[in-house]
Symmetry: C2
Subunit: 717 residues, 2 copies
């Protein structure tokens, strides 16, 4: 049908019609430029959109100087995109009309869908089903539209453009929130920065923020991608977008809200989507080198710095300050941010002392107020430190001295002159001045900030991106063909069955055997060798210690017999309904480091593997790391290095090095198990998992596996 008009293109075909349309209809078109049926027409005309614009309005023949049509059916030429500036009641029929007319994509601005409860959810479900069946891509509903500066497409009613459509820039934005998307747009304009593409996804009935970002990552006319995320229903599109962005070396800066319990509660009430567990996002962002901003200021600072397309080649920062006090402060920021204070070589210090005898030539360098009044000193100071190659970036604190119009010009020129002789160094300026003068510094090739702490944060972000782009993109872990699990009929696994399953995936347990009764246990203890541990085995009792179901360090057969007899006598009073499968007699494992290793399910991301040091402290310290399953052994080693207590494993205060290779294998192994059987296994908890010294391997002292069939049992009872 209509596609015959287009030459063959990439898989992004259908989104090109949406985000780079060649012809546009506005259904519900209005002459009132303040209305959402009027504003997009105004913007499109103002920007000089080159394709045809077809206002559709049943009662007007002309709108904003354009010929209007009574219905979409009567529009003459082909229509890539229809903007629906209509209420939720009319949307279904209109979408059907659009499909009939051969329209390829629609943007639905209207509210009254999934965000308003039951009825709206049903309305939205019908709409998206219709669109999919008709091959129509749908942005929204309840969104603020999209823009694409290259094609002068401004399909939005965002008030951020009211003061005029700004020039194109090289920052692309995908936002779930229209309001926040507009807010960002406005702030970028205030900083003199333009955007290449901008998309708000609203209710995400069809296209979600990940798919929008994926399309942007494939466009050539942007250098920085920004995403605003409240929650995801599924993660595939986001993962694909992040991978594509990495492949194309496009830095991604994300604002993910709902970080805290308070925030998540608010996000759930605001959108129709689910907010994933926040640490999973952190793990994901770290894996892909995404920068997660905490505040809008930070997001804008980092995006602005990235838009200069120059990353520092190392972490060494030089500070040139006119105030010793601020120099010390900046050294604090640099240390906090994980950057380094570079060292000024002796001969360079001597050179600086020649320039200003009373200077402090060590980093932070204090050349006194002279550098701001004598521009030659500024230029020669920079030449000296650039020549010494002691710094990858230089932060010049000018404070209020860089603001006087008479002084700023020559000062900027002096800095720019020296910078031109060392163009691979990054030059930042902290200066208190009006925004217009700030732009002058920017225009001369420096990154200008007011507060030095913000300059340092932005620099740290740039350095992190540099490292990310130099590292290999992580290879996806291939899942083996999933072997059947041979679960019991009711899907419940007792400890012995759980351990057997883990043993099949490379995680061994202590030598142990299941005893029927006290005498049997004593016999098995003798076979295994004393001392032994005895634990009750029951699919209905998951927290054994709490019911007195664990006895450790039993030294002889008599002790074993007594312990089992006590359990058999007292446990039924704690857990009357519990089936007792027997008593597990195990070798005692002494020494080693106790860890916890587990699998949980994230609503959006599926199985997540979590690792942490164990013992009683784990929940108190929350010293754990997580990652999306499956993870490779390399990635697992990185995870191990990230817990604060990792030195306990790697040899702490003369202690032994433990078998972290075996631990990495276990982390990877359990993650592959969970990912291969994501439809069957819901959670796994190995606690404690003991990591032995040397190459002694790991031993699962206890394990709980829950299946989807069996549900959560009395896990949290």
């Amino acid at each position: 049908m209509n596609s015959a008009n287009h030459p063959a293109r990439s898989a992004d075909d259908s989104l090109d019609a949406l985000f780079a349309p060649r012809s546009i209809a506005i259904i519900g078109a209005s002459s009132d430029q303040r209305r959402f049926g009027g504003r997009p027409i105004q913007y499109l005309l103002e920007a000089g959109f080159e394709g045809p614009i077809y206002p559709v309005n049943p009662v007007r023949s002309e709108i904003q100087g354009l010929k209007a049509y009574p219905s979409i059916a009567e529009v003459p030429g082909p229509v890539d995109l229809a903007l629906l500036a209509i209420g939720s009641d009319d949307t279904q029929q209109t979408v059907e009309d659009c499909i009939a007319r051969g329209v390829k994509a629609v943007i639905s601005y209207g509210a009254g869908f999934a965000e308003v409860g039951e009825e709206g959810i049903a309305r939205q479900a019908r709409l998206v089903e219709t669109a999919r069946r008709g091959g129509l891509r749908l942005l929204g509903p309840n969104c603020m539209g999209a823009l694409n500066a290259r094609t002068r497409f401004y399909g939005t009613f965002a008030s951020a453009l009211e003061d005029g459509v700004p020039p194109a820039g090289r920052i692309a934005i995908a936002s779930q929130s229209g309001g926040y998307g507009g807010y960002l747009l406005r702030h970028l304009f205030l900083r003199g920065l333009g955007v290449s593409q901008w998309v708000t996804t609203g209710n995400e009935a069809d296209i979600d923020v990940g798919e929008a970002l994926h399309w942007m990552a494939g466009q050539e006319d942007n250098d920085v991608l920004i995403a605003y995320i409240e929650g995801l229903r599924s993660s595939e599109s986001l993962l694909a977008a992040l991978r594509r962005a990495r492949e194309n070396r496009k830095p991604v800066v994300v604002m993910k809200v709902g970080r805290t319990a308070e925030g998540s509660a608010a996000a759930a009430s605001h959108t129709a989507s689910l907010t994933g567990q926040d640490s999973v996002y952190d793990a994901l962002f770290e894996e892909y080198g995404v920068y997660r901003a905490r505040t809008t200021d930070e997001l804008l600072d980092v995006a602005a710095a990235l838009s200069r397309r120059s990353l520092p080649k190392g972490p060494r920062v030089g500070v040139i300050s006119i105030s010793g006090g601020v120099g010390v402060q900046i050294a604090d920021f640099i240390s906090d941010a994980g950057l380094e204070m570079g060292t000024v070589p002796e001969h360079t210090q001597a050179r600086l002392r020649e320039l200003v005898p009373h200077c402090s030539p060590r980093n932070p360098i204090d050349m006194t107020g002279l550098v701001t009044t004598n521009h030659d000193i500024m230029e020669k100071t920079l030449d000296a430190v650039f020549e010494a190659d002691a710094f990858d970036a230089v932060l010049i604190f000018l404070g209020i001295a860089g603001a006087a119009p008479s002084m700023a010009g020559p000062l900027q020129q002096a800095i720019a002159n020296a910078h031109a002789r060392a163009p691979d160094r990054l030059v930042m300026v902290s200066v208190t001045c009006a925004p217009e003068m700030m732009r002058e510094y920017d225009a001369k090739g420096m990154l200008a900030f007011e507060d030095p702490s913000r300059a340092v944060s932005a620099l740290a972000a740039l350095w992190r991106f540099r490292q990310t782009f130099e590292a290999e993109l992580p290879t996806p872990v291939a899942l083996p063909p999933a072997a059947p699990l041979n679960l019991p009929a009711d899907g419940k696994l007792n400890e012995a069955a759980a351990k057997a399953l883990l043993a099949g995936h490379g995680i061994r347990s202590p030598r142990e055997a299941l005893a029927r009764d006290a005498a049997d246990a004593a016999r098995l203890g003798t076979e295994i060798g004393f001392p032994v541990a005895v634990k009750i085995v029951s699919p209905d009792i998951l927290h054994k210690t709490e019911v007195g179901g664990v006895a450790l360090g039993l030294a002889d057969a008599a002790a074993v017999e007594a312990a089992v007899a006590r359990m058999a006598a007292t446990i039924p009073s704690h857990a009357p309904a519990a089936r007792i499968d027997g008593y597990l007699v195990s070798e005692m494992v002494n020494g080693g480091v106790e860890c916890i290793l587990g699998i949980s399910q994230d609503e959006a991301f599926g199985p997540v593997v979590t690792f942490g040091l164990g013992g009683t402290l784990v929940e108190l310290l929350k010293d754990t790391v997580c990652a999306l399953a499956p993870v490779s052994e390399e990635r697992a080693l990185e995870m191990i290095g990230k817990v604060r207590t990792a030195p306990l494993l790697t040899g702490y205060r003369g202690g032994p090095r433990h078998d972290i290779e075996a631990l990495a294998k276990a982390i990877s192994g359990i993650s592959v198990l969970a990912a291969s059987h994501a439809d069957t296994i819901s959670t796994i908890e190995v606690n404690p998992l003991v990591v032995q010294p040397g190459s002694g391997g790991v031993i699962a002292l206890d394990a709980v596996i829950e299946t989807r069939q069996a549900g959560s049992g009395d896990r949290h009872a």
Copy 2:
């Protein structure tokens, strides 16, 4: 002499002459207003200083329209203060001349003293000795001077005043750095805020930042005190200042730089003073309710918010946003900041739905963009939430919608109207607009910020000050008369002597006795009761485990004899020079929670007591708290509550509650011991200190006490 001219005043007398002088001489006076001998005269004239100004210059008879005098001796009237705008070579003689002339105070601007090394240090020492002998107070040298808006005294050459002397405000600033002090001044002016007093202390030969702050805390015309600190030589004046500020309910906001190792290194090279251990400052600031700002933006935000003199009566915040996305973000900030999202009652939600049917009436409240265009809805929304008394503070996010001049006025009025009906509630606004319009919001009684995260941080600071001012000022701990310690002649204490000393201060050790040899040890073990522990006792061996000098859980006399024999045979090869005093045989202490308790010396603050949970993890997790010694038992209980692992002591996951009262007694006791004998004891380390369950008390399993006489021995060998 001159003091006969003044009525009797407080102990601040001598500083009044410095900071509120009634007559001023400028020595080294200049007609050139850009020079440090010219600028202060210009400022004083511009501001209309009412007392006499006497320029002193050997070759000029008139300066800036004032009669000049060839020397200080020839100035006609009494002189409270002389400003020394002269080089370091002339300063000594000039100070002597000032003393002879009866001048009460001087401000020395000149550099070339302690900050430039040996010669300068000697020059400064002589200067301060002369000043003290002559009863002359001295600010500087190497400082930028001071100002006092009430008396129109502008004794500074800070370029921050170049654009004109601004109106008086109610913020006072004491800064060790002149450059940073000027930077702060300028930023306050840019925000439309003035200062009451401003003092820069430079090299602090006589007056330090603490003394300046102490004077400010006694003045009536300020509401907020700001201090900028790089390091202190002694802490008494700062402690006195913080106490006085608390007594007068003046909030103190501090920027203390040199937080990190990088920063401290820089601070040491910049100033002549020592940077104290940073966590000691944190402990001190917390004790006195001082707010420590990390960045200048934060410092200014908090000071600006405080200058409104309105603190929230509780932590419950209501968020009214025109963008759901930003609302979620703000909820995150609120949770991070330790504030609470207030709950909107059902009937108020119903009322909000009446106003805007499609609103989100739960907190964060989203009334849609309608609140910004329909001001009546804004006013009624605020009335509804104020009436419900669900919030102590309201943060209204207007974003870019509050900026249009046509909209801002009526919007401000609507908010102010509702606020007038609930004046005890705090109203904050987050709005993107020009600074002038920001001031309009401020002028209508709202606290206006651009980024909502900064509004939330400032609010959290206000709430913290409210809590501080409602709490009792901590009572200083009275030290008992120090009993003599009866140290050995060489000042060295072995483990037994250290434990005996601690026992005298309420910290008991296990039942134990010192054995001469293996047979003796076996006999003592039988007396004490098995199992026992044996440890080598030597004043020369402090890390016993590392030389094989510890054996635990010895079950009978034979085991004890074998262990001691092994130590006697092998230890001399590890530590050939070690005197061996014997073998300590002790009862085994099982169970309890291992802690670490110690005393160290801070260069500025003296003895500091540190407490943390113990075991191998203490150094890894750095989960410790410290406080200046001595501390009361109440304060010690607060310290215990602050370590992250405190739940292990108070009953964690069904574990027992441990004897935290005895622990608090031990913390307080050891701190009193150290403070009473600060001249004798340098460090104490009790590790592990075992806290027993129930009311079992605490037991010191090991203790090391170092005296100043004995030095640190082989402590870190």
